[in-house]
Symmetry: C2
Subunit: 350 residues, 2 copies
């Protein structure tokens, strides 16, 4: 186990922990005393039909998702009981660095999106006795989990809003995650996952962050110097003070756990590889919400899936910030779109 | 000096060598006994107005460009005197691995696109007494050199065909080349450019090749399994047997020399940073020819430049293969478009 000062209640809390006990994974491994870190906002009503589940993206935690929540937003805790569950391997829930030996660090087992969703389902049903979700939403890897929820538990999910993500990872996106992971694992200090601190792997983490910059934002973003929206004065500073700053404090094995999970995301594992059959299971009303300048979950890839989902609509988010629009640097322009779509979705009869 | 078995007359020849003597570079360095490797096809006519100059791309040599030449093509040696000049640092012309100490390997000086063009100008004027070029054409880094020719020697260039490249590298493309170069330089065996053979740097070269796969071909390419056009049976084989096979035989320092040159390409260096003023110098008839699925020289970036070029037209090449369309794997579909545009350009009065 490593004491990583980034993953603390001070930085990310207050958050709660739910212990699932030994949790068996789809690929055969076990996470001993598997823990999910989560936060809730608002009150669960008596009929337990006002719950909204929010899921986290690669490297993200409940903290960034909390910026989507507020009485001025669609995700309004005055009306809804909102729960954000940190994905396994994100550093707060069970992860390589916080799991006891011998399953720690480089020995942490492979986790799938489906494992996350099964674990989240246990938390919701066992701890809160929730049997219905008014909405499941998430962006990027959060969208992958959202799709898995809608396919795996179709009777439970009334509405779904996968933002900037797909239900089955495309081959191109698989190649992308490969280059991200190789940037870390090629650092000799990564040492097969057995380092003493993230700081030792800073070179690999910094290369990884730069590849994020390559695919996370488009040529228009850089040409228009839209990095100014992130409070920096140059492209170089955007790389060092925003992108590299994000990732170098995180645990390399945590990023690799999430990277592998992202790469292998595929709802058609529920239906013997038949993607259309997987989507036909979905009973939720679904708003598919890609970002127009996104380079690795581009609208075209998202739209091809949307067309296979029975009760769905394509709602494209406009943002010069590409995938990094998710961080909300554009302020109102971005949140206004998110809120409009989610408000409409939440008010739709299902 | 390293004996690299890839860079031989057997693999790339027959080619000729022109010795420029000590060649002073824009950034202050000198290449001692600077050599340009070149090939010619057809006959220079008496009025010396039937010369076509063809330039090479990153990692490419005269050999691949020869596939564009033939009596069935627009680049017809029955009508034109066609000369292909290998760019400095490509492994055949003066390059880090074939230059004598102390300017060899990691000490090879920084070379700019403008240095290439000045060196090529000396070869054409001194050796062949050519004062007029019916056409200058090249793809990718060859397009960068083409633009530099049109801006630097406007009275000499009658027609120009920059294919899949820009006159000034975009910030996003600069970031791309950064990730490519870092993939190599992060290999501990690169050793600041002082290795004993390319094989020692194979890990870095292979990572570099994979990042090429990420940006060289689009999500549609991979989704449609268009790698089959390259004679392989899987994405993995496309990476290993096509992309990694291309780059791992090349000299790492040669790739870095070209990568830096590509990254810093900018015709506005001729006009104190004023790109519009640079384009206003151009007297050639120019066909700007981006490839529709190109991810790092996308049509939008090329079109923005084209609009600034006085006597120019945008001619978009359609290809599922993205930037790698340049290798001609699509056969007639691709060459037919190239030939049509070049035939029209060559027959236009200037």
């Amino acid at each position: 186990m490593i004491e990583n000062p980034y993953y603390t209640q001070k930085n990310h809390g207050p958050y709660e922990i739910y212990n699932l006990g030994d949790f068996k994974l789809e690929d055969g491994g076990i996470i001993p005393d598997c823990k999910l870190a989560y936060v809730t906002f608002g009150e669960l009503n008596e009929t337990k039909d006002n719950a909204i589940l929010i899921l986290t993206w690669y490297g993200g935690t409940n903290k960034i998702m909390e910026t989507y929540i507020g009485s001025e937003n669609a995700l309004n805790p005055d009306k809804y009981f909102i729960i954000i569950i940190n994905q396994i391997g994100n550093g707060l829930s069970s992860s390589p660095h916080n799991t006891p030996a011998p399953m720690n660090m480089g020995n942490f087992p492979k986790v799938r999106i489906a494992d996350d969703v099964r674990a989240q389902h246990k938390l919701l049903t066992e701890k809160f006795a929730i049997e219905e979700l008014a909405l499941v939403a998430g962006a990027s890897m959060g969208a992958q989990q959202t799709y898995e929820w809608a396919v795996r538990f179709p009777d439970m999910v009334k509405r779904a809003a996968p933002i900037a993500g797909t239900a089955k990872n495309t081959p191109h996106n698989c190649l992308y995650t490969d280059t991200l992971m190789e940037a870390i694992t090629s650092d000799p200090n990564w040492n097969n996952g057995n380092y003493r601190s993230s700081a030792e792997v800073v070179n690999g983490l910094n290369r990884h962050a730069k590849i994020w910059g390559l695919m996370g934002c488009s040529t228009e973003f850089y040409k228009q110097e839209a990095w100014r929206l992130f409070g920096v004065d140059s492209l170089e500073q955007f790389i060092s003070d925003f992108l590299q700053a994000i990732y170098k404090v995180r645990d390399p094995n945590a990023l690799l756990c999430m990277g592998w999970k992202w790469q292998h995301s595929d709802v058609s594992r529920n239906t013997n590889g038949n993607l259309k059959a997987a989507f036909e299971r979905v009973k939720a009303k679904v708003y598919v919400m890609p970002i127009d300048e996104d380079m690795f979950f581009p609208p075209k890839d998202c739209e091809e899936e949307q067309k296979m989902i029975p009760n769905s609509e394509l709602r494209v988010i406009r943002s010069i910030c590409g995938h990094y629009a998710l961080f909300g640097a554009e302020g109102r322009n971005y949140m206004h779109q998110i809120n409009n779509h989610l408000n409409e979705l939440l008010s739709s009869q299902v």
